[in-house]
């Protein structure tokens, strides 16, 4: 019996490898990054049997996975939850065209927003797209999930979503590995209309997807991921989804006295849920994320005392669950604890010592000092930490790419100077199209491209932008004399501030590329060179 200690993310990756994966497509994003990193380190990833290079963004990743599925092979696109917003178009429409080779999408949600801007629950996406969703409760199920998902995908010709949450993605346990399966052969669809969803075709495809729903529901009723455990005390029933089920087991040392339904495959198993409702006086719904099933169980009238969960205050409406929160909702006494100390101060994350972004922000702050009405629109990356003291250099951070387009909109409104600050990889992810908008309208926007030659925030993955930024900006139509390159170093401070001030004064789109390698990857590269 082969066993390994794996993160939830790594278990998904190993499960996909063992299930005959041919292509892993992804853009790095916490807490999903380790899925593809694991595949890249695997034998099949290194020798090219599995495609596993990073994609430019989640949309290109999912589309490439869709193309591989078209060609008959098993493909997986993985991303953080907000990445699925970027990839929503191919995701929803892949459900209409269907899958040829198995198509699996992994979304890693981040309740409590450990490293994210929101805590959206990806189960809604699966529901919206009318496709199955698997929500593993532990690392062993995370390992099994891709194999089951690929089979569902090929059997019912639909993409399948695997939903992870931070706690499972980033927690290790011993996983027992199973049988392995080879890759699918190349096979193209026999129906040439299948992937051409012109309205005339799409209506039929959509109808077939709707007609398949009862079969998907039946698969959920029979799924080993969904499990009804009877219990003697029927004053309460417990419906727990995914990892929340573990907290219920923890509260009762593995033996709940109440009937308990674990749900880890959707569409929700209606028969099992109805059995729980019929058997018990009340049902507590425990879900990591939004009250997705709870809201359905409540329905109308809105005040239904038989259903408890996040909506009636039995559990907090927001944030990650914990064993303590779930035990309290079950009415169990808490353990005796030591009082919290008042001494610990917050220790917010900060830019690393020597970080190039720090030098860029110092220069930018100086250039902006004479423009009290100017604003700096920033983006997603390490440099978002420039919002904190001592820099306090940025005014916005919303979603990938929004810096350039928000700066443009503000400039359209008359705000001057409107500055965008965006990292190299965020720029190729979602900034290039916004820059084209600026160029098309000759918008007075100064774009500071923070080029640290890597995707730093997620641990230093290769950036698609490396050695391409000047040619991309020129190709999109930025005037060559307004593509400036600075080296963010303390000794170049005066010069850099002057260049930034020059471009702030220019009444058109300009780009200042602040280029110096991330100190973390530079250290790693130096170590590697020493070893060589």
């Amino acid at each position: 019996m082969r066993t390994r200690v794996l993160l939830g993310d790594e278990a998904v990756a190993q499960g996909a490898i063992d299930a005959g994966l041919s292509g892993a497509y992804s853009y790095p994003g916490t807490p999903s990054t380790e899925i593809v990193e694991y595949i890249q380190r695997s034998d099949a990833g290194r020798d090219g049997r599995i495609h596993c290079r990073w994609s430019t963004n989640e949309k290109t990743a999912l589309e490439a996975a869709l193309g591989m599925s078209y060609a008959g092979r098993r493909a997986m696109a993985s991303m953080k939850h907000v990445g699925l917003n970027v990839a929503a178009d191919p995701f929803i429409n892949s459900a209409i065209v269907g899958a040829n080779g198995g198509l699996v999408v992994v979304a890693a949600d981040d309740p409590s927003m450990h490293s994210s801007q929101n805590e959206q629950d990806s189960r809604f996406y699966a529901d919206f797209a009318l496709v199955p969703c698997i929500e593993p409760s532990d690392q062993q199920e995370a390992y099994a999930a891709p194999g089951v998902a690929f089979e569902l995908s090929e059997r019912f010709h639909v993409p399948v979503l695997i939903r992870l949450t931070t706690r499972l993605a980033h927690s290790r346990a011993v996983v027992t590995l199973g049988e392995t399966r080879g890759a699918n052969d190349l096979s193209i669809p026999t129906d040439r209309k299948q992937y051409v969803i012109l309205p005339a075709h799409a209506r039929g495809s959509y109808q077939r997807l709707v007609e398949r729903q009862p079969q998907l529901a039946a698969a959920s009723e029979e799924s080993p991921f969904n499990r009804y455990t009877d219990g003697p005390d029927k004053s309460l029933g417990i419906l727990a989804c995914g990892i929340a089920h573990n907290y219920v087991l923890e509260a009762y040392d593995g033996m709940p006295p109440h009937p308990a339904l674990k749900v880890s495959q959707y569409p929700a198993p209606a028969d099992l849920i109805e059995r729980l409702l019929a058997d018990c006086d009340q049902v507590l719904v425990v879900e990591e994320g939004f009250p997705f099933l709870e809201a359905r169980l409540r329905g109308f009238p809105r005040v239904d005392r038989a259903i408890r969960g996040r909506l009636d205050g039995s559990l907090p409406r927001t944030g990650e669950l914990s064993p303590g929160i779930v035990a309290r909702a079950l009415g169990l006494p808490g353990r005796q604890t030591l009082p919290a100390s008042r001494l610990p101060a917050p220790r917010p994350p900060a830019l690393c010592p020597g970080c190039p972004h720090a030098d860029t922000y110092r220069a930018l702050n100086e250039a902006m000092a004479t423009h009290p009405m100017g604003r700096v629109f920033s983006d997603i990356g390490c440099y978002t930490l420039g919002a904190f003291p001592p820099y306090e250099a940025i005014d916005t951070c919303v979603e990938m790419g929004a810096s350039i387009t928000m700066a443009k909109g503000a400039a359209d409104a008359g705000l001057r100077p409107a500055v965008a600050v965006i990292g190299d990889s965020t720029f190729t992810h979602s900034g290039m199209t916004g820059l084209l908008d600026c160029v098309s309208e000759a918008s007075p926007v100064t774009i500071v491209l923070l080029d640290n030659l890597t995707v730093a925030m997620t641990g230093g993955q290769d950036s698609q932008a490396t050695s391409r930024l000047e040619s991309i900006c020129a190709g999109l139509g930025v005037a060559p004399e307004h593509i400036r390159v600075i080296e963010p170093l303390p000794k170049a401070h005066e010069k850099n501030a002057a260049i930034l001030a020059d471009e702030l004064a220019y009444d058109g789109p300009s780009v200042v590329i602040a280029r110096r390698e991330c100190v973390q990857t530079a250290r790693r590269h130096a170590t590697k060179r020493e070893a060589a």
């Binding site: 807490p31 490293s115 011993v174 009082p339 220790r347």
Partner: protein, 194 residues
Amino acid sequence: MKRDVILAGVGGQGLLTIAAAIAGAAHALGLHLKQSEVHGMAQRGGVVRSHVRLSDRPIHSDLIPEGAADLLLAAEPMEALRYLPYLAPDGMVVANRVPMKNIDPYPDEDEIAAALRALAHRLVFDAVSLAREAGSIRSANIVLLGAGAPFLGIPVDALRAAVDRLFERKGPAIVETNRRAFDLGLAQAERPAD
């Protein structure tokens, strides 16, 4: 056998390396384990925590319930105090006393030392000096692991072997340094209490 351990410190202190060593030792012994950690944004000099659970029976929750931890292993004194509510009333605290002052103001050091001294079961010591003695201050995390080893409920030799395996590919000199670091920490734990 069951041990719930909270690892606490600051990004860059090598907490996750210790977590990997404990997990590796537990796996080699055939135990069940869960080890939850923080990645991403929280690592940039912010707080790092890991929940490590070892047992000879299946473990359900990836997170340790408050009031249940048998051991709190802290690479930094203020970070040790942050997680006291996780500790069982008879739980042990093993902490490095050298502060990591990357925030301003950092709380009063005497007050932190006094709060740690007030704990019933504790070992608070200078892991950085011992790491220097071992050959590299970067091995302070392994010193800490050595000091915590007698309280982890698994044979010390299994931990030592797991540390060796972690550093194997970095060459014999680094393996040797970390072995010394582990043993200096262990000796600290076996010394009579202050």
